[in-house]
Point group: C2
Chain length 288, copies 2
């Protein structure tokens, strides 16, 4: 396993791999790797000849007052995990080699995809995400890039961006990895106190309950999810909770197509996001 800091060197390495006819998979991360990252790496490892994990805490996707400076990092541990998981290259660039002096370009995905859900509460966030992912994909030009379903909006934004900018990379969504009690695995879970950690799984329970009701043919309003969560986690501050079109990410009241039931909830210092997708296109609606 090689650890590479220089964009030019990683480009050279992947060009050699690509020219030899081998496929390249990339898992973009902000480090602090945990079992959800490892599930992406495992899928990417299985589907590609060459596996790159990028580790870069991207400043442009954090808003003022967000946790950029305190975002967890532990490169020694990340490196051990990558080594054990058969990663070929860790690309861990310096900030100044990614955003050169005079950097002035942003990639923006507009329209419904960034009108609701997290985009509404984190202005500029998905522009920062789209820009850094465009850069990483242009450096590496992988055959496939892997993202988790947990940030569902991120996936849809990146998928749209790669299609719209004619990038030749398949964007693959991997299922949410959960703790035994249902809480979605996240680097930010470590911000929770013990008591908060015990109540946090009720976010998922609320979304799942809503999904089961939708599956049973009931109409589910945001109010139902709000009240479910607030009842179980009185200290919660809900940014949003609701039912959105799974492709367009716009709010849905009269459900006809696939939907994503999603929420962003502050529990103490942690802003937790989670979602459940209900596929209506199949005979049996499937909840995932």
């Amino acid at each position: 396993m090689k650890v590479i800091k220089e964009p030019a060197e990683v480009r050279k390495t992947v060009n050699r791999v690509r020219n030899s006819g081998r496929s390249i998979g990339v898992v973009p991360t902000m480090g602090a790797l945990h079992k959800a990252h490892r599930s992406l790496m495992s899928r990417a490892r299985a589907e590609n000849d060459f596996l790159i994990v990028t580790i870069f805490v991207n400043p442009t996707q954090f808003g003022p007052g967000e946790d950029y400076s305190s975002y967890p990092h532990n490169f020694k541990e990340d490196k051990e995990i990558c080594s054990r998981d058969n990663v070929d290259v860790i690309f861990v660039p310096d900030k100044d080699d990614i955003y050169l002096q005079g950097h002035a370009t942003t990639v923006n995905v507009t329209g419904g995809l960034t009108d609701y859900m997290c985009a509404k509460y984190r202005p500029g966030h998905y522009s920062g995400v789209a820009t850094i992912v465009a850069k990483l994909l242009n450096i590496i030009k992988p055959h496939r890039a892997y993202f988790g379903q947990k940030d569902y909006q991120q996936f849809r934004v990146i998928e749209r961006m790669t299609v719209d900018l004619n990038m030749n990379t398949e964007i693959v969504m991997c299922p949410i990895v959960r703790e035994q009690d249902g809480l979605a695995v996240s680097s930010r879970n470590r911000y929770l106190t013990k008591a908060q950690r015990r109540s946090a799984p009720y976010i998922y329970k609320g979304l799942k309950e809503a999904a089961l009701r939708i599956k049973a043919g009931e109409a589910v309003e945001s109010k139902y999810i709000y009240e479910f969560i607030m009842d179980k986690i009185p200290e919660a501050k809900i940014d949003y909770a609701g039912v959105f079109d799974a492709k367009k990410l716009t709010p849905v009241s009269n459900i006809k197509n696939d939907v994503v039931i999603a929420a962003a909830v502050w529990v103490g210092k942690a802003r937790l996001i989670d979602n459940v997708v209900v596929k209506t296109g199949e005979k049996q609606w499937r909840v995932s």
Copy 2:
């Protein structure tokens, strides 16, 4: 010479060329090819093994009320020119194959580069330009792409965009091609009446006069260029005329670095742009 409409087919063709170790040059155009385009093609032909000319009148770079619907086109003539000039592939995509349904992504170059000059008078124009060029470069992934100095701001915007988005394409600037009387060659010159055509070269004369004064150590104010042009072309409507930093494109009064003296002037139905660069970094200041 092959004429290709499908992005996927052009991608396949260039991949084959690249894999065989040959270099690829691209000249992006909106068609209506003339001798300025041909100078780009000639340079690209000399510097690359494989030459692609793209022809696409990009709707997103035209503002409301601009000449999108009346922009000149003559594919038969363009094809003859390309064939004579040893072009390997003309890529002439349909609008709907470039902007797929649901297209929602823009590439924006912000900061000083788009605060002045044409950007101020054509809001959204360079976002449209940056987006279409990002798309074309991602499809073709050429070694070099060629643009004229005439739209100097376009060159700087595209250069910045390719660096910032880690595109591995060298952006090459080619000198302005002029008619015998000095008028910069442009597809839009055909909008001029005979009388307007006779007075239009005074735009260049004004810029050049300003350049010679700067070279002689004089301070040149926008007012000087305005008055020179208005004196010679009374019917002109000047969007802007002035001296700008050649790299940052911000207005300059106290000249220390290279500058570009640029103007956009309406003469009848034609919005004409032109510029002269004064290089101060060399012992002998050079005007080009």
